[in-house]
């Protein structure tokens, strides 16, 4: 399994000279599985350049796993070339909601006045699937979804293939109502799917002082994400969902902060950036 980050910015796309090293596209990671399957994690604006990179050589089937339906995680889908290809079998997975189904919740985003084309007229005729409670397989990968702390229905994903694992929790506030240093494991949101992940891609939108002003907004601080990763015993932590107001220099300062609060066991901490790849083999 190979993973590539196509977008790691949170909230709002923010291209420009001050974000050029880590990128301004919103959340999107593409997983190329060894059997040729393609799994996409979220459809932020980063999915558009991924589609362009295919230069028309679309995969036969695409499985898009949405963590939730906030705009920065779906806004690129309308401009993703395989979505408009009638020969692509397109499946969209996402969190359950108490009342409406996934397709019904997505449909307004693909309808006037927000968009000229109705979802029912999209050529790939996407099929919508609410994530099951139990792990399921896509190609050679096993996928596990778990509801996590973020406003509204939201899930994190764990993808395993060839005994390697990637956990993806781009919008997550596990510290809300919980002391991550002392709370029992089973009561920490998201810990189960992050456990001993080879790569943990996790929300790190705020500095500690910023977080103190934004408790309950659904995101994490540098200190909390390191505490979470250490409780999960993750091997490698990739800081993700960068705040749109944070410049490259700001992010590098946050990386220093995150590394400084690590415990005795050395945790590999790095900043996610557009174009970053992980070979999980």
């Amino acid at each position: 399994m190979r993973a590539r980050i196509w977008g790691c910015r949170g909230t709002l796309a923010s291209p420009g000279p001050e974000t050029i090293r880590y990128g301004g596209q919103t959340s999107c990671i593409v997983l190329d599985l060894d059997d040729g399957s393609v799994v996409i994690l979220d459809a932020g604006t980063g999915i558009r350049p991924y589609g362009m990179s295919l230069a028309g050589a679309h995969p036969r089937r695409v499985d898009l796993l949405l963590t939730h339906l906030h705009a920065d995680h779906i806004e690129g889908l309308r401009f993703f070339s395989p979505f408009w290809d009638p020969d692509v079998e397109f499946r969209i997975w996402g969190p359950r909601a108490p009342a409406k189904g996934l397709e019904e919740r997505m449909a307004p985003f693909f309808a006037p006045p927000f968009f000229p084309v109705h979802l029912r007229n999209v050529p790939s005729r996407p099929r919508f699937r609410e994530v099951p409670d139990e792990p399921w397989t896509i190609g050679s990968a096993t996928i596990q979804a778990e509801p996590i702390k973020h406003p509204g229905p939201a899930v994190g994903y764990r993808v395993e293939a060839d005994d390697r694992s990637l956990a993806y929790l781009p919008d997550h506030e596990p510290a809300l109502g919980a002391d991550l240093r002392t709370m029992e494991d089973s009561w920490i949101s998201g810990l189960g799917i992050a456990r001993r992940a080879d790569v943990l891609v996790h929300d790190c939108q705020y500095t500690v002082p910023e977080y103190e002003q934004r408790v309950g907004w659904g995101h994490s601080s540098t200190t909390d994400v390191v505490a979470f990763a250490e409780r999960a015993e993750a091997r490698r932590l990739v800081l993700f969902h960068h705040d749109p107001l944070h410049t490259d220099a700001d992010l590098e300062g946050m990386l220093v902060d995150a590394r400084s609060v690590r415990g005795a066991e050395p945790l590999d901490v790095e900043l996610g950036y557009e174009g970053q790849t992980f070979a999980l083999t």
């Binding site: 109502g177 949101s189 799917i193």
Partner: protein, 137 residues
């Protein structure tokens, strides 16, 4: 796969978060009916701390506090508001009498509701309760 099967469901986590911040006594059970948590406000009414009680199975907590109706007739789990919330998937309310872990008999009002993120699933239930004042007895 990971050990997410041992992970509490988010609805349960949020229920614990919420009730831990309330001055109203609250009691949280999981999908098996096992006592998962009660808050600090519940401790003086139940006459013991959650640390002392720990996780009790449904049959255990349903007898631990010796619940009876107001006439002193013992109540089964199914007759308690939490049991009704589970069985019928809706809120339930009743005045009952319990004997606290401190040996004191108390009359309490209990309102329980199921934790159901979807119609075909009950992940647990929450009971909010309070001691009846002398004028309510």
């Amino acid at each position: 796969m990971s050990d997410a099967s041992t992970q509490r469901n988010l609805v349960m986590i949020l229920a614990r978060d919420l009730t831990s911040r309330l001055v109203m006594p609250a009691f949280v059970v999981d999908a098996d009916g096992t006592l998962a948590y009660f808050n600090e406000a519940a401790e003086p009414v139940l006459g013991r701390t959650y640390a002392e009680a720990g996780e009790l199975r449904a049959g255990e907590w349903a007898t631990e506090w010796k619940p009876t109706d107001l006439d002193g007739m013992p109540l089964s789990l199914e007759e308690l508001p939490l049991g009704m919330a589970f069985r019928e998937g809706r809120p339930a309310h009743r005045a009952i009498r319990i004997t606290g872990g401190d040996g004191v008999d108390r009359e309490i009002e209990v309102t329980a509701f199921p934790l159901s993120p979807r119609r075909d699933q009950i992940l647990g239930a929450v009971a909010l309760f309070w001691e009846r004042s002398p004028t309510e007895r």
